[in-house]
């Protein structure tokens, strides 16, 4: 029997009293606790108290509150829906059967909720249910499933997602597919999509960022040219996504050189008015090609940039360079630098640097 004082406290005007009462009722172990808390939830106006009630429900182990929580996924209050979703997500392992049943139900909102909840856990949705979700009549369920599969790195679903990307006329679904395939696709996915998007420069604006992500995630070395040409034709709006894509390609293919034409594109980009974070990532990208004297010399001015993060990025980026001017600059910086983190990096770098005898390539005139 729940303490009468606690029940009375649920009716008190102070939020804190009702919140503490809800917590203590949920901890009471009493068989009637669920009913009392659910009844209070229906009339409660305070978000903090609602939250305490919902958390209390999820802690009542001796009952199966999952069905109660699932009912709450249809509550009129989105706060209650979101809290219920979060509670279910925490105990998804135990609520799996109930959640999977939702995926087969008639309610599109519950189907979407189920995908969203399950995809946030490490447990994963059974393949058959994802397959069904990708064919759902409600496009929002399909998009949620695509997003979930990409984030969850479910490479087995690259083929059905590719099929949707090729056939769909719904822009949001197409973008979702491109971005998922950037995570789980491969060169074959990209080649297949050329039927729809032959070249990045011809991709409609709303798909462009997603397509460039796809190039970065799946493209071969040859996509360097395509991405650099895109930066030239589209300008500043694509710089950030293009730099990311180039970095991914460089890392995946372990590139240490790039054609002189594209060295020029990237080095000239440093002269553009870029946001600091974009410049930072560009410096890091150029670091992959710093064996080239052209690239190394373009990075040198950043060693003493007033933004010391750019300075540190430049120090790291110049690791691969054997250019004597670079070494002299680093040694000079080591005598004047005040930032301890940069100093440490310079010292480590000087220890690690290659000692080449071959002349540097692409020496600028």
């Amino acid at each position: 029997m729940i303490d009468v004082e606690l029940i009375e406290s649920l009716g008190k005007p102070e939020d804190s009293s009702r919140r503490y009462a809800a917590q203590e009722i949920s901890e009471s172990g009493d068989a009637g606790a669920v009913a009392v808390l659910m009844a209070q939830l229906q009339k409660e106006t305070s978000r903090a108290v609602k939250e305490a009630i919902l958390r209390g429900l999820s802690h009542i182990w001796s009952f199966s509150p999952f069905e109660s929580l699932i009912v709450l996924l249809k509550d009129a209050d989105p706060f209650v829906r979101a809290e219920a979703a979060e509670m279910l997500q925490r105990r998804a392992g135990e609520a799996m059967e109930s959640l999977n049943r939702l995926l087969e139900g008639d309610d599109k909102d519950l189907r979407k909720f189920s995908i969203d909840i399950l995809s946030q856990t490490g447990i994963g949705v059974p393949e058959a249910l994802y397959t069904a979700a990708l064919k759902d009549e409600d496009i929002n369920v399909v998009i949620s499933a695509i997003e979930s599969l990409g984030a969850g790195r479910r490479t087995a679903f690259a083929a059905p997602i590719l099929a949707i990307a090729l056939a769909s006329s719904q822009p949001m679904a197409i973008c979702a597919c491109l971005e998922a395939l950037a995570q789980i696709g491969n060169r074959q996915s990209l080649e297949a999509l050329r039927a729809r998007f032959p070249d990045a420069s011809q991709v409609p604006g709303i798909y462009l960022h997603s397509f460039v992500k796809l190039l970065g995630g799946t493209g071969g070395e040859e996509t360097i040219a395509e991405i650099c040409e895109l930066m030239g034709s589209k300008g500043a709006p694509v710089y950030e996504v293009a730099i990311d894509a180039l970095t991914r390609v460089a890392v995946r293919h372990r590139l240490s050189t790039v054609a002189p034409l594209y060295e020029d594109v990237l080095c000239n980009l440093l002269k553009e008015p870029l946001a600091a974070r974009i410049r930072l990532h560009l410096i890091r990208l150029l670091g992959h090609f710093a064996r080239s004297a052209r690239v190394a010399h373009a990075l040198l001015p950043y060693l003493d940039d007033p933004d010391r993060m750019l300075g540190l990025a430049a120090v790291e980026a110049l690791e691969a360079s054997a250019d004597p001017l670079v070494e002299r600059s680093l040694l000079s910086l080591a005598t004047t630098e005040n930032d301890p983190e940069i100093l440490e990096e310079i010292e480590e770098l000087l220890r690690r640097r290659p000692r080449w005898n071959s002349p540097p390539s692409n020496t600028p005139s």
Partner: protein, 133 residues
């Protein structure tokens, strides 16, 4: 100067997607992951429009809109809800909270931009980058 739009949604892809559409139409965008993040971002710079989802953990869209309106600082800021919830009650709640428009996801890009221009009282994407707030 471009017009600034705050895009509030707990789905990263949806934030990105709406940002792509808006930027293609020459708007600037800032994104937020939920209502609480949205409030902090709102206070950090001037926006011409807010585009918000409803179902978000931590602070849902209705609560976010209520707090924006109750602050007294953003009475005239246009707020558009864009949500998968399609029932009439959801729309009523949105307008009661203080939204100017309610759009059901997914919206075709042209339709979304047309609705945004309608709410902002501008002609089209050329106006998006002129005389921004």
């Amino acid at each position: 100067m471009k017009r600034n739009v705050l895009v509030v949604d707990d789905s990263e892809f949806t934030r990105n997607y709406h940002s792509y559409i808006l930027r293609e139409a020459r708007f600037e965008t800032v994104t937020a992951v939920d209502g609480a993040d949205g409030l902090e971002k709102l206070y950090s710079r001037a926006f011409d429009l807010v585009l918000t989802d409803i179902n978000m953990a931590n602070m849902d869209g209705y609560e976010f809109i209520r707090r924006v309106r109750n602050s007294g600082d953003y009475d005239d800021l246009p707020i558009i809800i864009i949500s998968t919830e399609s029932e009439a009650e959801d729309k009523s709640r949105g307008f009661l909270a203080g939204a100017n428009l309610y759009i059901v996801k997914p919206s075709e890009p042209e339709s979304l931009i047309a609705n945004i221009c309608l709410v902002l009282g501008i002609q089209g994407s050329e106006d998006a980058s002129a005389n921004g707030g």
